[in-house]
């Protein structure tokens, strides 16, 4: 299966046995995508613990 990264539009290869809540990384932009639904398959940005880069 394939899905699209919601951040950068890259194609994400999704294993056939993917489970709801599973985290999939995007190889292009590095975000972590959470599987929020299986039928139909839907991904969203996984919650991210932010680092303060401006510090």
């Amino acid at each position: 299966m394939q899905a699209e990264c919601v951040e950068c539009g890259a194609v994400i290869e999704v294993p056939e046995d993917v489970m709801q809540g599973e985290i999939l990384p995007c190889a292009d932009c590095g975000v972590e995508l959470e599987v929020i639904a299986l039928e139909p398959l839907a991904l969203d940005l996984a919650p991210l613990e932010m680092e303060d880069w401006g510090e």
Partner: protein, 350 residues
């Protein structure tokens, strides 16, 4: 010499760019380096000047006057010397790649304005292809003569190229490219300013206006408009590397996917340009330190959709993609080798 390999010579092989050329060409399966000249080091083994090449070659430096005909001749001399004798070099080799600034500009008037003197061989300027394969891949294929590239010009061009190709830049908008550069850009001739106590640890504004590579950048961008591009160069604590940050205004309201699409479209067919725009990594943007010794150029961006303000980024090794790497890549195209031959080294980390 192996009959199925092209004979290659390097004129001016004792400099930093010459050493990088030697390192790359000694690992190239389609060529054999038969001559490496240096007037200062005649008779010395190559490794005595380039110690990382010990047991890589038994070549000794020779004098220019003893050059024999070769298939490909690289010229890696200080600016101004290649143009003075280009006809003599052309008599020795059917293909020439000149790493100096002598044949980068097509217009002799632009050369005179940038370098302060009239070009000595203006008739040769149109015979050379600008040796940046990412822009001139088709023109380089089968070409006889290629110029080198300016390292700061290359970083600036690659930083701007995807936005330019994506019709996101307005020629009426002045562009300033801030460049942080390493000490090897100054070459291997020592000077008061390169003396360790004076150079170590610096963040030294080197040339913030009027950099001569501006002419190369404007020439490369010219087919898309008369862009007013200015370079501001600062020397920093680094031996190899260029980090370019082009400050521009893009249309407001773009989103990340719009920019990803432009960058992917611009670089899909360029094996040595990588898009680095990472949300989660420690290394979120292009960084020159990761590219030392490679022919890669990393590009990326930072963009504020509310205002359209953007900083377009590129990083490279000034001796790699900014000099010898692009020269070998150009040779590969000129001679029909795979473009990536001998250039696949991916760098070291940390």
């Amino acid at each position: 010499m192996s009959a199925d390999r092209l004979a290659v010579g390097i004129v001016g092989a004792s400099g930093y760019a010459g050493g990088e050329l030697l390192r790359l060409l000694l690992g190239h399966p389609g060529v054999e380096v038969t001559q490496a000249t240096s007037e200062r080091h005649v008779g010395r083994f190559v490794y005595q000047v380039h110690p990382h090449l010990r047991r890589q070659t038994t070549l000794r430096f020779t004098a220019r006057e003893t050059l024999a005909p070769v298939d490909v001749l690289f010229l890696a001399m200080p600016h101004g010397q290649a143009q003075a004798h280009i006809a003599d070099y052309a008599a020795l080799a059917g293909r020439i790649v000149d790493l100096s600034a002598d044949f980068r500009l097509r217009d002799p008037a632009h050369y005179a304005a940038a370098y302060g003197s009239a070009h000595l061989a203006p008739d040769w300027l149109p015979r050379f292809v600008y040796g940046l394969p990412e822009l001139y891949r088709a023109e380089l294929a089968g070409a006889s003569y290629a110029s080198g590239v300016g390292c700061n010009a290359t970083a600036s061009i690659l930083a701007l190229w995807a936005a330019l190709q994506g019709d996101l830049l307005d020629p009426a908008q002045p562009i300033v490219v801030d460049l942080k550069v390493g000490s090897s850009e100054a070459g291997n001739a020592p000077s008061e300013s390169s003396h360790h106590p004076a150079r170590s640890g610096v963040v030294r504004p080197f040339q913030l206006t009027g950099h001569r590579h501006e002419a190369e950048v404007r020439q490369a961008l010219a087919p898309r408009g008369a862009f007013d591009v200015r370079l501001a160069v600062t020397s920093v604590e680094m031996v190899r590397g260029v980090a370019a940050a082009a400050h521009v205004t893009l249309p407001a309201g773009l989103d990340e996917r719009d920019l990803w699409a432009r960058y992917r479209a611009a670089w899909a067919d360029s094996p040595f340009v990588r898009i680095v725009h990472d949300r989660n990594s420690l290394h979120r943007h292009p960084e020159p330190r990761l590219l030392a010794g490679t022919n890669y150029a990393d590009v990326g961006w930072e963009y504020d959709p509310a205002t359209g303000r953007a900083v377009l980024l590129a990083a490279l090794d000034n001796l790699g993609k900014g000099a010898a790497g692009s020269a070998v890549q150009s040779m590969n195209l000129m001679c029909g080798f795979d473009e990536t031959t001998a250039l696949s080294f991916g760098g070291i980390y940390p």
